[in-house]
């Protein structure tokens, strides 16, 4: 059963440039439901990534309201916002953003260990999800020895390992070739379906966007 997860009302964000203020978001309104997948599309510089950063609580410099399960972001302290991110949010970045000195297994176990889970349990869960993604034999490899596709699948595992309720993905296939992209996307959709998370994906690839449940097109800082 779907429920309201993130409710955005009148989100505005302005950048100051030498030429004057630039409005990136101009009254963005939208309600995200659990278990759905939503694509955010738009031209370069349209504010896709900015919106993602605001929704994930990383960027706090905006006006408007974001309500998560009846709690307004504005009323949450920094520490509570971080706790929320640890417990509820998973990230997938275009350039994978894995810690280079940690193995695949250790990278995946990071969110669990941050929540205070023991090393042993974290590693077990980490291996479990890596096995599901066909990466068990690569679990002790460092990111630099993995291919791009493998690195992004490790990032997928990290995002889903804690049963997070929201997954933010910023151009997750932007650095991958088409065949590898397809493998990664299939695994992303499968995991999302299985875990019933809200997947918010930023992309400029319209084909990819069309495979999502809903699409938001950002034009002049507004959702279409």
């Amino acid at each position: 059963m779907t429920e309201e997860l993130l409710v955005c009302s009148n989100l505005c964000k302005t950048f100051l440039s030498p030429e004057g203020p630039i409005k990136i978001l101009d009254g963005f309104n939208y309600t995200f439901y659990s278990g759905e997948s939503v694509a955010i599309t738009g031209a370069s510089g349209s504010g896709k990534t900015t919106l993602l950063n605001i929704l994930s609580g990383i960027d706090e410099d905006f006006s408007g309201d974001i309500i998560f399960k009846d709690r307004n972001f504005k009323e949450l302290s920094q520490i509570k916002k971080e706790k929320w991110r640890r417990e509820e949010v998973g990230f997938i970045f275009q350039d994978f953003k894995l810690l280079p000195r940690l193995t695949a297994k250790e990278n995946v176990a990071l969110p669990l260990q941050m929540l205070g889970q023991s090393r042993k349990i974290s590693f077990l869960k980490s291996l479990e999800i890596l096995e599901k993604l066909g990466l068990k034999d690569r679990s002790n490899h460092f990111p630099t020895t993995l291919s791009g596709g493998e690195q992004q699948r490790v990032a997928l595992a990290r995002a889903f390992v804690n049963e997070q309720s929201i997954i933010f993905a910023d151009e997750p296939t932007g650095n991958l070739d088409p065949s590898t992209s397809e493998i990664v996307l299939r695994q992303l959709f499968d995991l999302n379906k299985e875990k019933q998370s809200l997947l918010i994906l930023v992309t400029h690839d319209l084909d990819l966007a069309s495979r999502m449940d809903k699409q938001i097109k950002l034009i002049n800082g507004k959702a279409l």
Binding site: E82, W84, R101, L102, L110, R119, T144
Partner: protein, 838 residues
């Protein structure tokens, strides 16, 4: 391709990686600077001595002895020198003097004839002109004029004659390094006044020295003087007569300087090798960062040789600039050191303008820079650009054999440079080999500490913060390896030096507490013993130790002459020095408190046998055993004796002790004087006693050990400062390497921070991980330093036979201090770069 694009790309590379390359250059600069300072200083010292060889020696040839030469010996000398040389005579002896204005003090009296000096000059204060000294007049050196508050026109009592001061000496010839240390300030008097002082008595310590210089210089002065010297040495058989040429003096000085050079070069190379490790690691990281740029250049059609030349050009510039700045700073420091040395050694030295040594040092810097950088860029230049863009090639590691090749090459360049500059082929090899071993041991030690740390950590409960910090560090050990090596070894050396200095201070104060004798009386004649003892008793409650002293030379052992025993021994051998030295014998029928027989039997009181008791260590070194027959020459008279016992002497008691001792009746009639020692409480008692003794026995020299010690400690403090500066430079280098390393990994750190923050970690947690990383590195550093310092101190303790152990509190404090060094370094870097914590 023309040179222009290569030049432009090199400049661009430098601009983009400015900070990283500046830290790399700084490492090389410090290494070059330390080596250049040492070489330049020694070079100036050597050239000053070589250029002024005759002036420093004050003659072409000199003949000295502790007695006047007889007619036969004088005739032999005249026959060899054939009236081709000018001659001047001097008589030198230490004595107490009494200035009218001050209290009595020790001085070195030198009687000179009107021809003195044959070379060099006697320079007087206020540009007064030096002429021959009229009878009844004297010249005093500047130190003495300050100490005694004497000025021109004042009078000084020397023995039974009063002298009027007519000049104050600011410069004297005869500044050769004799291996000794002249404690007493000098007074020059007319040689014909010496007898009038009444200080020349039976057995007194008087040095008669004749200086010779050529009237007309022969074509080959060096070979001619050598021939004459050899002839004289062959004809004059008395080993107490010493013939020496200015060339021999130079050789001796050269030997001393080479020993000093080797010692300081060891420390300088210590800095250099560490700086190169830092430099190499910086260059490699720089190269890794440029992988994409190299790939781009290759894709744009740059041939691998052009990539190679571009980077080598950059390395050449780094080597050139580092070397150039290194020699500029090095020259300035060297000028400073030379001015210190001038004061310390009383040798006039002119700091030369930048010599060919500077070019050598710049060449050395460029050679090292190119050598360290060459193999890396050679391997990187061969890449296929597209492999990098397709992520098939993400990183290139230098194979182990290449790393070893670079290291060996650097050591070889060091060796050539050191050998070229010191003429010490073998020592240079040992230094380089020793340094390589030291580095290897240090790296192994760091790895072992790591393993132990991990092992300990596994036993205790874990925290995620510590887990992450340890993981990150373990997998990036090279980031801190060079820093640990540099700061670890520098701190170890500095800490060991500190503990040694403290041990010396402690020993000194303990000796003072123990009321060991601190005042020595030299030259007491037999008839003065009673009266002097009485005066000493009045001023001190301490025991007055008295021993007769007879000067002699060892002529033969079991009938074999000393010359034939030492002929094959190396110049530096201790056995050679001990056997050929001027002996001081004593006689007594009872053992002193500080002596104990360890082998054989000591003679019974009143023994009439010609027996000898030898000091144990002396017997060991010279390989003399019980039953051996020794033949001593005591001012022309030969005395035979059989070794019947070996004694262990506690030299630390400051009582008069001797290597060779015989029964009383054998030596009691030999030319002799008595030496004494006593503990005196304070400076007032010392001054009173000194003046009392002067009144009744002006020939007796009184030496206050604490005054001498302050001079010796002053000398050591100069050496200490020089060494500390080198080790501090080493530590500074360590900090510089840490900064470079932090700068290189800043991007990685920032990325990690962003990822962890995105995953929901508070900045405080990230800061805890960073702090733990610093503390772990600090912990390894502290353990490393402790692991080095303890064996160093243990070795020194055994070598110097004194207590140099460090207290647990001191070691603990240094441990804690070092623990926080990386953390402080990291915070300093963060602040200097304006990096916000949150």
């Amino acid at each position: 391709m023309s040179f222009k694009p290569i030049f432009l790309i090199s400049i661009l590379l430098f601009q983009r990686q400015k900070l990283s390359l500046i830290y790399a250059s700084l490492s090389l600069l410090m290494g070059v600077l330390s080596v250049f300072v040492v070489i330049e200083t020694i070079e100036v010292l050597k050239s000053s001595i070589y250029q002024n060889g005759q002036k420093i020696f004050a003659a072409d040839l000199s003949i000295s002895s502790y007695r006047t030469l007889n007619d036969l010996e004088q005739k032999l000398i005249n026959d060899v020198l054939k009236n081709q040389m000018n001659k001047c005579d001097t008589i030198e002896f230490p004595s107490m003097i009494k200035p009218d204005k001050g209290s009595s003090m020790l001085a070195s009296i030198k009687g000179i004839d009107h021809k003195y000096p044959l070379y060099g000059r006697v320079k007087l204060k206020d540009n007064n002109k030096f002429n021959k000294i009229q009878r009844g007049n004297c010249l005093i050196d500047y130190e003495l004029s300050v100490q005694s508050r004497c000025n021109i026109g004042d009078f000084i009592q020397v023995g039974s004659k009063r002298f009027q001061v007519v000049g104050i000496i600011t410069e004297l010839p005869e500044q050769e390094m004799s291996g000794g240390f002249n404690m007493a300030p000098k007074i020059l008097i007319n040689i014909f006044d010496v007898d009038d002082t009444g200080l020349i008595q039976f057995g007194s310590r008087i040095k008669y020295k004749s200086f010779y210089s050529y009237k007309y210089f022969p074509d080959n002065i060096e070979s001619d003087i050598k021939t004459k010297s050899l002839l004289l040495k062959e004809k004059i058989t008395d080993p107490g007569i010493n013939v020496k040429t200015f060339k021999e003096s130079e050789e001796f000085t050269k030997e001393i300087l080479n020993q000093i050079t080797v010692f300081f070069m060891l420390s300088a190379y210590f800095v250099l090798i560490l700086s190169l490790a830092g430099f190499g690691s910086s260059l490699y990281t720089f190269l890794t960062d440029q992988l994409k740029d190299i790939a781009t250049l290759r894709c744009l059609g740059f041939h691998k040789s052009e990539v190679l030349i571009t980077f080598l050009f950059l390395y050449f510039i780094i080597g050139l600039v580092s070397g150039f700045i290194g020699i500029i700073f090095g020259k300035a420091i060297s000028i400073l050191i030379i001015s210190w040395l001038e004061n310390l050694l009383s040798i006039n030295m002119a700091a030369a303008p930048l010599s060919y040594k500077a070019f050598e040092a710049v060449g050395f810097s460029i050679a090292l820079s190119l050598w360290v950088g060459f193999f890396g860029i050679y391997i990187f230049s061969k890449i296929n650009g597209i492999d990098v863009f397709q992520q098939k090639l993400k990183n290139i590691k230098l194979p182990l054999f290449v790393q070893l090749l670079i290291t060996t090459g650097c050591l070889f360049i060091f060796w050539i440079y050191l050998w070229w500059n010191t003429d010490e082929k073998l020592n240079s090899f040992y230094i380089i080999f020793g340094l390589a071993i030291l580095m290897a041991v240090s790296i192994i030690l760091i790895k072992i500490i790591w393993l132990l740390l991990i092992l300990i950590y596994k036993i205790f409960p874990r925290s995620f913060h510590l887990d992450l910090a340890l993981l990150e560090l373990r997998r990036n050990q090279n980031k801190y390896l060079v820093f640990l090596l540099t700061l670890g070894l520098g701190s170890s050396a500095l800490l060991a030096l500190y503990f040694v200095e403290s041990a010396f201070d402690k020993k000194l104060s303990l000796e003072i507490e123990k009321k060991q004798p601190n005042l020595f009386f030299i030259g007491i004649q037999k008839n003065q013993v009673k009266e002097i003892t009485k005066r000493v008793r009045e001023s001190s409650k301490g025991k007055f130790y008295l021993s007769p002293l007879i000067q002699a030379r060892l002529k033969s052992i079991n009938g074999t002459s000393i010359e034939s025993i030492i002929v094959d021994l190396p110049n530096r051998s201790r056995k050679r020095r001990l056997l050929s030295r001027n002996f001081r014998l004593t006689y007594q029928n009872k053992l002193a408190e500080s002596e104990k027989i360890v082998k054989g039997e000591f003679w019974r009181d009143g023994s009439s046998e010609s027996e000898i008791s030898l000091e144990l260590d002396f017997a060991k070194v010279t390989n003399i055993k019980i039953g051996d027959i020794l033949n001593f020459n005591i001012q022309g008279k030969e005395i035979l004796g059989t070794v019947t016992s070996l004694r262990k002497v506690n030299w630390g008691t400051m009582q008069p002790n001797f290597f060779v001792m015989m029964p009383t009746h054998i030596l009691e009639d030999a030319p002799q004087f008595t030496i004494g020692s006593v503990y005196i409480e304070n400076e007032d008692s010392y001054l009173k006693l000194k003046n009392d003794i002067y009144k009744i026995a002006s020939n007796v020299t009184i030496i206050n050990i604490s005054h001498i010690l302050s001079k010796v400690l002053n000398l050591f403090s100069y050496l200490g400062i020089a060494l500390k500066s080198l080790f501090l430079l080493c530590m500074l280098l360590g900090i510089c390497i840490l900064m470079g390393s932090l700068n290189r990994t800043q991007k990685e750190q920032d990325d990690r921070k962003k990822i962890l923050q995105a995953l929901g970690w508070h900045s405080k947690n990230i800061w805890i991980v960073e702090m733990l990383e610093s503390l772990i590195v600090g912990f390894i550093l502290s353990v490393l330093v402790t692991a080095f310092v303890i064996p160093i101190l243990w070795s020194l303790q055994n070598l110097l036979k004194m207590d140099i152990s460090a207290s647990v509190i001191q070691l603990g404090l240094s441990f804690i201090l070092l623990l926080f060094v990386p953390f402080i370094g990291q915070e300093f870097f963060r602040l200097s770069q304006g990096i916000r914590r949150i």
